[in-house]
Amino acid sequence: MTARSITYAAAIHEAIQTAMTLDERVICYGLGVPDPKGVFGTTLGLQEQFGAERVFDMPTSENAMTGVAVGAALAGLRPVVTHQRVDFFLLAMDQLVNSAAKWRYIFRGEMAVPLTIRLVIGRGWGQGPTHSQSLQAWFAHVPGLKVVMPSLAADAKGLLLASIADNNPVVFLEHRWLHNQAGAVPEGDYRVPLGKAAVLREGADVTLVGMSFMTMEALRAAEHLAGRGVTCDVVDLRTIAPLDWDTVLGSVSKTGRLLALDTSWITGSVAGEIVARAATECWEALKCAPQRLGLPDFPVPAGYSLTRGFYPTACDVVRKVEQMLGRELGAEALAIPADEHHDVPGEWFKGPF
């Protein structure tokens, strides 16, 4: 299959379109799905193509509409439900956690819940405390949920198709700052298996583990470090649950140094879990204490000056590696210049939205 360069958002669009073409049991709904903006472009034209019975807007009723999706999945459909922020989806935790996640298990494997929930995470432009949370650790904590966090455009497509094909509830978290990133994406029914991490870059000295937008920071840091003679394995988790421990721990065993990066608060984070597993299972191989980087344990403020420094960047990654290796590696070269805006990923991302 050929690949061409399209954006992460277009890749998501293509995944839904492909799934809906392959299987007419796939339906797609959520606030704004058929509206003129089409959930950041990811659902544009789908209603025209597949009809209003399969693609539709919904009332502002997140909890009920999640339960409706669970019921529809039990009855034979394969719903793909979208929410423009993970924060809005918090109203639906009951249906997700008490129903979707447990159904298969409680009823002795007799029923399945093939359900995909797309949730947008992100940050920037003063969205503040209740519009920029990143709650993958909550979902990953619940047995019975699969949790997916693509970083690259190709994986956004391949993992979403695999999520829709999966017969279990999958929480699919898309980072808004990645939507505009382009990459080579295969055409057609391209699937990337859930539960498999990708090693995006190989090295000998340090293992950087990233997810979603933090993988981008890891790649930037690794590029910089390579210029200073420090080579890194960059492991892109892609799936948070089930997590690909073989790949992560294999890399840590090889390099002996782990830095786990997270898009969310550090306490109770996925990065914390990775550090714990590395400490318990790779103890002999470790050359220094395993480390992690995430957000400070405070709500995200809206204000411009308050968010400066709130999110770890490639510069912080290199600083951490400097500490781990005990030498200076020129981290400052990666610092965001004082005259550059830290609250947007580029000119394309700007209020209002």
Binding site: L31, D57, P59, L90, F298, A302, G303, Y304, S305, F353
Partner: protein
């Protein structure tokens, strides 16, 4: 029935509406400067209900609001400089820059807070009413929200509890027909009248033209008296229309989710111009009086932007404070710890 509104009250109402209109126009004009780096939900065209709430309720009645918060805050009498400074993310903002446009607060005028998740603050107003009842302070709680909020379970749950306990709370729905780009017809069944649905839950309901300021004022005064007199909650639904895009300073009728005809019909029913005309014809104001009222509001708005511009950015370290209260709040009787 609306002509018995005293001239001073009517002028107060108009002043609040002009404040909202002129402030929002200034925000829209200056937003492209990219100094207000946060989402902004403007209420141009919807000035009436927030202003009537501000006039009809007592200063210490507690108002809770939504993402479309500026008008609600200004209507209740919130400080303009602290609002604009909040949009700028400045230290002088009402939340010191932590909240941004969707989280406003001015407790000195009973505007407790706005929050950004649809229907999130509705039960908080009910909780305020519960406290008011227990504390016997005679205050009324008030939740402002849009037509989409009634689709959330927490709305029905809140109304049910308020009705059950006959709590002193007003539920005020500004029905502008839209949730972002989505019209009511795609969210609620045809023929649904929101106030009828709520009436069936056992609370008193009122429905009215949300662009008729004097009528809205009378309705809110009446409802507040009802709630304050321990007769139970009131649900008020007012039909109105947002002129600009859902979020941001621009007009977006070109996107095709609503027709130019619909927009023009509502714009022709400009609630601010209408009240101006009514006050002039009632003789409460002459043309010069109206001009000077507008000029003084313009000056207030300009001063608010000056406050915001002059206020410093809070230092980044301010983000890492005030997560918890350090002291306990309950009196002790020689209590002991482990």
């Amino acid at each position: 029935m609306t002509s018995d509104v005293a001239p001073q009250t009517a002028i107060d109402l108009l002043r609040r509406m002009e404040r909202i209109r002129l402030l929002e126009e200034a925000i829209a004009e200056r937003y492209p400067e990219e100094k207000m780096r946060c989402p902004t939900h403007l209420s141009t065209g919807q000035e009436t209900v927030p202003s009537a709430i501000g006039v009809a309720l007592r200063r210490d009645d507690q108002v809770f609001s939504t993402h479309r918060s500026h008008a609600h805050y200004v209507g209740k009498g919130g400080d303009l400089g602290a609002l604009v400074a909040e949009l700028y993310g400045k230290a002088g903002g009402c939340c010191g820059g932590r909240g941004g446009s969707m989280h406003l607060s001015d407790r000195s005028v009973g505007f407790v807070a706005s929050t950004a998740i649809v229907a999130n603050s509705i039960p908080l107003a009910v909780g305020a009413a519960l406290a008011n009842r227990l504390l016997g302070n005679g205050r009324v709680g008030c939740a402002l929200f849009g037509d989409a909020a009634v689709e959330e379970g927490v709305f029905s749950e809140s109304v049910n509890f308020a009705a059950l306990r006959a709590l002193p709370v007003l539920f005020v729905c500004e029905n502008n027909q839209y949730s972002v780009f989505t019209h009511l017809r795609d969210r609620q069944p045809a023929g649904r009248r929101i106030h009828e649905m709520v009436a069936a839950m056992g609370v008193r309901t009122v429905v009215g033209d949300g662009n008729d300021a004097l009528a809205v004022l009378a309705a809110v005064e009446d409802a507040a008296a009802h709630a304050r007199n321990r007769k139970g909650p009131v649900f008020l639904e007012f039909a109105t229309y947002r002129w600009r895009e859902h979020c941001g300073p621009f007009y977006d009728n070109d996107l095709g989710y609503r027709t130019a005809g619909e927009f023009e019909a509502w714009r022709a029913r400009d609630p601010v111009a209408r009240l101006e005309g009514e006050l002039v014809s009632r003789g409460d104001l002459d043309a010069a009086g109206l001009r000077s009222l507008q000029e003084s509001v313009r000056a207030e708005v300009a001063a608010a932007f000056d406050v915001a511009e002059a206020s410093p950015f809070p230092p980044a370290a301010d983000a890492y404070r005030e997560l918890f209260v350090a002291q306990d709040g309950m009196p002790s009787q020689g209590s002991h710890t482990e």
